[in-house]
Symmetry: D2
Subunit: 142 residues, 4 copies
Amino acid sequence: MSSTPYIHRVHYYETDKMGITHHSNYIRWMEEARVDYLKRINFPLTRLEEMGLLCPVLDVDCSYKKVTRFDEEIKIYVRLAEFGPVRFTIAYRMINAATGEVVCTGSSRHCILDRDYHPVRLKRDYTEFYEMMMGQVSESFL
Amino acid sequence: MSSTPYIHRVHYYETDKMGITHHSNYIRWMEEARVDYLKRINFPLTRLEEMGLLCPVLDVDCSYKKVTRFDEEIKIYVRLAEFGPVRFTIAYRMINAATGEVVCTGSSRHCILDRDYHPVRLKRDYTEFYEMMMGQVSESFL
Amino acid sequence: MSSTPYIHRVHYYETDKMGITHHSNYIRWMEEARVDYLKRINFPLTRLEEMGLLCPVLDVDCSYKKVTRFDEEIKIYVRLAEFGPVRFTIAYRMINAATGEVVCTGSSRHCILDRDYHPVRLKRDYTEFYEMMMGQVSESFL
Amino acid sequence: MSSTPYIHRVHYYETDKMGITHHSNYIRWMEEARVDYLKRINFPLTRLEEMGLLCPVLDVDCSYKKVTRFDEEIKIYVRLAEFGPVRFTIAYRMINAATGEVVCTGSSRHCILDRDYHPVRLKRDYTEFYEMMMGQVSESFL
């Protein structure tokens, strides 16, 4: 399931005066793909919020391999790279759909908090989410 | 006091592949200038929020006169064009600081609501704000 | 054909601290829908650029009817409201797909220039595009 | 000189529905601070472009320490962390001006290319820039 990519088509307003996609947008595409991923594993962000869970970003990193341009279709593959009781890491691989080239790789690390920004006992109190996530951890983008 | 412009310098990430400022950013600059204006008349947005007042945008319009480019300094003049018991209109005039040319004009119309999105009796319940705003209405940017 | 809406799902990064979509994003969605519309009538922006035509924005206006929120699906209907030898106007109507309510209406006015930012003789020099556009003018979003 | 921070005040449109600054904006603030830094060392981006030099981003990383909120003043300290013949790394430390707390740290790595995206012989062909940068490398933000 995690092998279905999220598709983002580069918007005109995402380009900059070099004629290419501005680098800050890839961080936003990572969020788009993450939101889509959580939906596909049946824990959309809105459901997590209703459950009282927040997953703020602790760190991001992004490595730009090839430029992308207006209207190009980008396939974004997502995998859960690490998952522990209080933190998880999502990795991203972005491919230019037309050329098959990797254009960007990145990752985001998140913690899991309740509405009052306190740590939660995920395994005990959110067992279904915990187990789904444990089963999703993967070392490759297959 | 309203004749002091707000200054915005065009950021690299605000340009697009035409090499100019993307038109959507001027709507954001209008907000920056509006936030600054409310601060200068001693009713910063954070104070209005503490008072329980919200001023959501009802309409915006924007007319692009001249392109602007990376790192250009833009002077944004603000005036309260209309003010009534439930709505107000702010007008904006943007000048390229280097050339003196008008690059953009626009306006935003706002309503005034309480935290529950209900209309308020501004004159009766928020007299100080009401009177300050009444005194600010101006037909020109001088 | 113009009755097929463009779909935009509200991104997390498009929300603001009021918990709703920030009003500046609708201007960007208008661009997304316009790009999609030009593609559907077989004159995608990239083709127009290859033909040497630019369509910079002269004015935009936007009227906010209902708030929208994270992950809501927005249908954006586009119609060519006016088309003349040097200018055209596109109108937009945005519908919350779940409720059917109109959330926003707007328009953008554009001029048609060559690469050197000079006016073009559209009817004479770009007949195919001129006639396609003439046939697209519509008074309603049907 | 590099110890003078660049100031960014959080804009309303930079907040998200969690009520805090959306994490993607810090990448843009890094660019704002970098543009300002190059200006202060007398090699503004526009001058580098006139010299025929481009400095595209190869990687970014960003570590979020504390949330920031609307209208907070953020001091961004910049230092040239590494500088070699074809690449350099800039490090960023962001401080909440009111509390003195570190809110974010990050870095961006850049390569130096000519207008045709080819590597340049910086030391030989752009000696003044090369020597200025060599003298700027610093291990701390003081």
